[in-house]
Amino acid sequence: MTPAQYSPLNACLVLLVLWGVIGVAGLLRPTSLRFVGRTLFPLSALVSVALAAVAGWSLGVAPERAILAIGLPDLPVHLRRDGLSSVFLFLLGAASAGVSIFAAGYFRRGHGTSAGLQCLQYHLFLASMGVVLLADDAYAFMVAWETMALSSYFLVTTQHGLPEIRRAGFLYLLIAHVGAISILLSFGVMQGGSWQFTFEAMRGARLPAPWAAAAFLLALFGFGAKAGLVPLHVWLPEAHPAAPSPVSALMSGVMLKTAVYGMLRVTFDLLGQPVWWWGLVALAVGLFTALYGVVFAAAQSDMKRLLAYSSIENVGIIFTAFGLAIVFDGVGMPMLAALALIALLYHCLNHAFMKSLLFVGTGAVLHSTGERNLGRLGGLIHRMPWVAWLTLIGALALAGLPPLNGFVSEWLLLQSFLFAHEVPHTFVNMLLPLGAAVVVLAAALAAYVMVKFFGVIFLGQPREAALARAHDAGVLQRLGLVWLAAGCIALALFPTQVIHYLRGVVRQLSGADLPAQTAPWWLLEPIPGRQASYSALVFLLAVTAVVLLTILGVRLFYHQRVRRADPWDCGFARLDARMQDTAEGFGQPIRHIFAQFFVLRRELPEPFDRAPRYRVLISDRIWLRLYQPLAGLVQRIADGFAWLQQGRIATYLLYSFVTLVALLALVL
């Protein structure tokens, strides 16, 4: 296109179409790994980079519209790109670039869906996420939304030979579908009887308070189902491990964020004026989800399930920030609302990079060891240094430790929590600060989880002999890991620059904004005058400086001699690798302290067992208490209806007769 008619929106569309083309191209030679893996996926990574660039560049650009000639008769597909879309498009592009390039090296021969078909589904998934972010009318949004669910479902069930994977896929698609219907109903409320399903009309529609609340709650349910808010989270720990690692990375890193995007779009853009108590609902759900997720993450012994639960935790934190923003916005504290929203968006970006990094890291481990169970891993830092050290970055970031990026967003969130006591509602202003404590507890637990994750996989001694044959990631995989890690570091070291862009987005979204930033470029001081400031860059430099000085000093004043010896075995000379602490053991304090979260089933060995074994089965209380009874209820009702249908024709005639007489009596 000529520069005259060049617009970011068109560029994005072209790139999305390109994704589609690449996907279809995969069907040309569906079984050729060389073609699909080594050719198409790198190309798609390039497209991702381009998308990230376009979106990033368009952050400041004013909103723009487009209307395509497809869709329902009175409702062609409306598209609109504004700041919010751009942020998430950037997220999509930047994260998927790393994941795609990793995936290029990830493909293997194996039964299940052919590589070409996976390629199609994968790119359909990416493109539909893009359309979700650009859609400007309910129908286009819903179509893209469900296409996203569908394509990811097929990706999850790549290995559809295994029953548990089919089960995971089924659960995932079921909950996604229910959520989608709820979103649909929320749109039905928001169109306000105008029968205009464009978002433009919804912005215009002024709903009466109860209707608006209904729309919000329906949306919260629907998007919460996709984001994995408790108690709608059950699909997440099933689906993420089932999917191939790059797909898990995308689902966790990007797809969950589309739900956040939808929630922001509905609440701040379409409904316009959020009411403060909505925020309390979101806040409560978010906090509970965060705690629930991280506690379960700590108890897992499958590395991908662990990451999945940690995703639930982060979604919880994001929704906490969301609720906080609504509360502030509702009671007329725009500056703090802006702060909370910035924290929210920042955390979305962070999590996209960290979680994708960790998932592809586990992918690399899985790839070279074929093992997902923490109990059979260990000591891989010697075999796979690249993966180990790059994953360490992700782990530390996810643990919310300075100077990495996870800390920045949590710091911003806590800063905004500090003002919660100024909310002019008694009780609320007392309870909100406790929310901060929950967030910190979740963050600290996240550190616990990450120590477990990294320590058990990469540190210690290999728990299985087979691990000796583990090999480090290939070039393409390394490239992907490096890209994602670099993203984490960039987000960590230049928060002021990121926030500068996010401010514009937030202003566009809710009209709220931070005061003018006065701090120097290297110093993050969101609200000048409060002296609450943080500079990751200097921080890092200081620590490194001290460390280097120390090392130097030690070398200067003392010697360098190091002897290797066996570890201290307390005089019990037959210690072996299997006597290390297991993942279950590491989770034990959590199980002890948060006992009421779990339903535990233990198998303890008898003193004289020939083959003593210790097993702990941890199950989700919500699954047992909510979902199984639900299924049982449906079964019972179904049996009741079936009882009415006993095959006797006289009975059926009786039904008709009674119906007839009843209706006649009705009109009589």
Partner: protein, 228 residues
């Protein structure tokens, strides 16, 4: 009463007779007698049609009278009798609801039907206004009969008497439907009975009996869920 012309009195008499006949069917347990009653019902219908034709002088009524004679008085009873002889089904088993109970329900139905017909009769300009109530009653009674019977054959008889009720309703309310429809209906009834005949033989060779409890296999039995 003297104001009412004779034909009209006769018509009302026929109507009453029809109602009586359907009660008789309801109480009757011998299939052969059921068929005979059906034939008689057809006869009464024929009589009513002729009377109406004579009174209103609408010619197409004669035609439909002829149809009635051919189809409902002669052909159908003959077919059914043949079937009964060929299949050897003479008795219906004990009905699902005992006779007296059925009668009681029948009476209630009649009351309901008359109540239902009230508003219509108000504006019926035709000669036999109050006959509609009876038509409804006959239809519902035949319905009841189909519900309570166990043999396929008696259900069919019920079905046909329902058709008769409809026919009577159509005539008394509107001097019969347009001819196109009349023929269509007649054709359908005929085909229906033929199909029935085929059916009966198929059922017979399948179960060597026309007892309906053979036809209760397709039901919603407990199905354990697979993986889901």
């Amino acid at each position: 009463m003297s104001a009412v012309p004779l034909t009209l009195q006769l018509l009302n008499f026929c109507a009453a007779l029809l109602l009586l006949l359907s009660f008789a069917m309801l109480s009757q347990r011998r299939v052969v007698n059921l068929v005979n009653l059906l034939a008689v019902q057809g006869g009464v219908l024929l009589l009513a049609t002729l009377l109406l034709a004579a009174r209103t002088g609408q010619h197409h009524l004669y035609l439909s009278a002829a149809l009635t004679l051919g189809l409902k008085v002669i052909l159908l009873p003959w077919l059914l009798h043949r079937l009964i002889r060929r299949l050897g089904v003479y008795w219906d088993a004990e009905p699902l609801l005992n006779i007296s109970g059925t009668m009681l329900v029948g009476v209630l139905i009649v009351v309901f039907a008359f109540g239902l017909a009230q508003p219509i009769s108000q504006l019926a300009s035709t000669a036999t206004r109050n006959a509609i109530g009876i038509a409804v009653a006959v239809v519902l009674l035949s319905f009841l009969m189909m519900i309570t019977r166990r043999k396929a054959m008696s259900q069919v008889v019920g079905f046909l008497s329902m058709e008769n009720g409809l026919f009577f309703g159509a005539m008394s309310a509107t001097y019969g439907m347009p001819m196109v429809v009349e023929f269509g209906v007649a054709l359908d009834v005929l085909v229906a009975v033929l199909v029935l005949g085929i059916f009966f033989f198929q059922i017979r060779e399948q179960f060597d009996s026309l007892d309906l409890h053979h036809l209760e296999a397709l039901r919603e039995e407990a199905a354990e869920r697979g993986e889901d």
